[in-house]
């Protein structure tokens, strides 16, 4: 029972992170199309922002692991 709820929670966390990273990617592509000369700055900032969102999802997944493990 706990395992199933944990699985749902992990799925939700991944959906959230996926939406966030997808949004960042879309906006970054748009910005690069508008200003191709800023591609370097946009790319590194895109990766940085994606990493922050990933961090939030990772905390959720870690908590899910802990709940499932205990």
């Amino acid at each position: 029972m706990v395992g199933s709820i944990v699985a749902i929670g992990m799925g939700l966390a991944v959906i959230g992170a996926g939406l966030g990273i997808g949004w960042i990617g879309a906006k970054a592509m748009e910005s690069i199309a508008r200003q191709p000369e800023a591609v370097g700055d946009i790319r590194s900032n895109m990766i940085l922002m994606a990493a922050f969102i990933e961090g939030a999802a990772l905390i959720a997944i870690l908590l899910a692991f802990l709940v499932a493990g205990v």
Binding site: S44, I47, A51, G55, A68
Partner: protein
């Protein structure tokens, strides 16, 4: 030049600190009890013994050395099921081991183990008489230590297990209910007469990942430590050569290996160090480069097939030490401005402060925590996916009974694995870069000089 020498020292420092933590880490390997609850269904597997024997060539074509045969055997009167389980195999492959596997070969490594009742033991894993082409199960016990699935375990104290070399028949898993009322898999070793309970090595996870303090501590150079030393030696060699060519070719254009490495160094300088650290970039540059090349080297080393397949950067202990280094550097170099904004939050309404300040203080610890988890999760996930794709051969081949299925699946599995490895090459670069850029941004935020408003 001086900076490159500093790298070498930093790498050695990283290694030393890691190998100390390694000994305690084994946690994430032993906690997948829920995945194999169906242990007692093995009676109908007897007839398959002969079928597996003549499909060995299919197993031989497989990338990993350990072939899991779909048969059971009787050890100490208990029927042990050896049929293939994907979850277990994946966990075994991402974990650390006390043998180094090159292709199907299992090379012995030294063991340095300490137990409260037995004292310090130093010997080689060749004492366990494991098959050179097997999958890491020892055929002998030495001073109460045994080798099970490549990792060192010990007969729990108080069972009158003889010291010295003892021949053993095999390992028997049993499901038991522990003190908390939870199902747990406990391993037993059979010395041809009796079953003895064996324990995993001590881990520092306080039971969070199914580990905990047991009767012995393992300080041996495991597969991951050996991989780390190999990568460090390689990086040291590369950087010494590059440093030398900067000396001999002063004023000339870079050449060969030198220009290859310069691309990375200039990239880190222009994309990471200078934008985030401002005019103090030179002070932290060697640290950033050390982190970048250490992670990149180990990520790529773990992707080499048939050569250890070590999952070093996918090990929580390693990423934890790297994150702790980032944490210490950030907070030690943090200036007054950083601490004032963290602890006093000037310019924030008073009723927000009780919420904001605890959140900011939590943030100090959450930053390295996510740094640790991100690298661990990305690299481990990549390794698990690779193992699962290779496992498709066994799933479709029905543990060696369906040769046609295995042949068909091996074609698909090879293509999927190749595709995944191509993605993993990108992930290896991106994760090394992300770790570096985040470390730089944390240090940059802590050392920023701001005029007061």
């Amino acid at each position: 030049m001086r900076k490159i020498i500093i790298f070498n020292f930093l790498f050695v420092f990283l290694i030393c600190s890691q190998s100390a933590v390694f000994a305690q880490d084994h946690g994430h390997e032993g906690h997948d009890h829920s995945t194999h609850e169906n242990h007692d269904h093995s009676t109908d597997d007897h007839s398959t013994h002969s079928a597996t024997a003549d499909s060995h060539d299919v197993h031989g074509a497989e990338a990993h050395g350990d072939s899991h045969h779909g048969h059971s055997e009787v050890i100490c009167g208990v029927e042990v099921d050896h049929s293939f389980e994907v979850g277990k195999t994946a966990m075994h492959h991402i974990g650390d081991a006390n043998v180094y596997s090159i292709g199907p070969l299992q090379l012995p490594l030294p063991v340095i183990a300490y137990s409260n009742d037995g004292g310090l033991d130093i010997f080689s894993t060749s004492k366990f008489k494991a098959d050179l082409l097997g999958h890491g199960d020892g055929h002998a016990a030495y001073n109460g230590y045994v080798l099970h699935e490549g990792s060192l375990k010990r007969v729990a104290p108080g069972q009158n297990f003889p010291n010295g070399e003892v021949k053993i028949a095999g390992f028997v898993p049993k499901e038991e209910i522990d003190a908390k009322g939870k199902k747990k898999e406990v391993m037993y070793v059979c010395d041809f007469n009796e079953l003895y309970k064996i324990e995993n090595k001590s881990t520092a996870d306080a039971g969070l990942f199914g580990g905990g303090i047991t009767s012995f501590y393992d300080f041996s150079p495991t597969k991951n430590v050996v991989s780390m030393i190999l990568v460090t030696l390689f990086l040291g060699f590369v950087f010494r050569r590059v440093a030398k060519s900067y000396k001999t070719r002063e004023g000339k254009e870079p050449k060969g290996l030198q220009s290859f490495m310069e691309t990375f160094v200039v990239f880190i300088r222009d994309e990471v160090a200078k934008p985030f650290l401002g005019n103090k970039w030179e002070k932290y540059f060697s640290l950033l480069l050390a982190i970048f090349f250490f992670i990149l080297g180990l990520n790529l080393f773990g992707q080499i097939p048939f050569f250890g397949g070590s999952n070093v950067t996918g090990n929580l202990a390693v990423t934890m030490v790297l994150a702790i280094i980032a944490f210490l550097v950030t907070n030690i170099s943090g200036n007054g401005h950083y601490w004032r904004h963290l602890l006093a939050a000037p310019g924030v309404p008073w009723f927000v402060k009780p919420i904001l300040i605890p959140v900011e203080i939590m943030g100090i610890f959450i930053k390295p925590l996510t740094l640790m988890l991100r690298l661990f999760a990305n690299i481990t996930a990549g390794h698990i996916v690779l193992v699962v794709f290779v496992s498709l051969i066994f799933i479709f081949g029905d543990s060696g009974q369906n040769v046609g299925g295995a042949l068909g699946a091996s074609v698909g599995s090879t293509l999927l694995t190749l595709f995944m490895m191509a993605i993993e090459l990108i992930v290896a670069l991106v994760q090394a870069f992300v770790f570096t850029i985040l470390t730089a941004s944390y240090i940059g935020a802590a050392t920023e000089e701001v005029e007061h408003h």
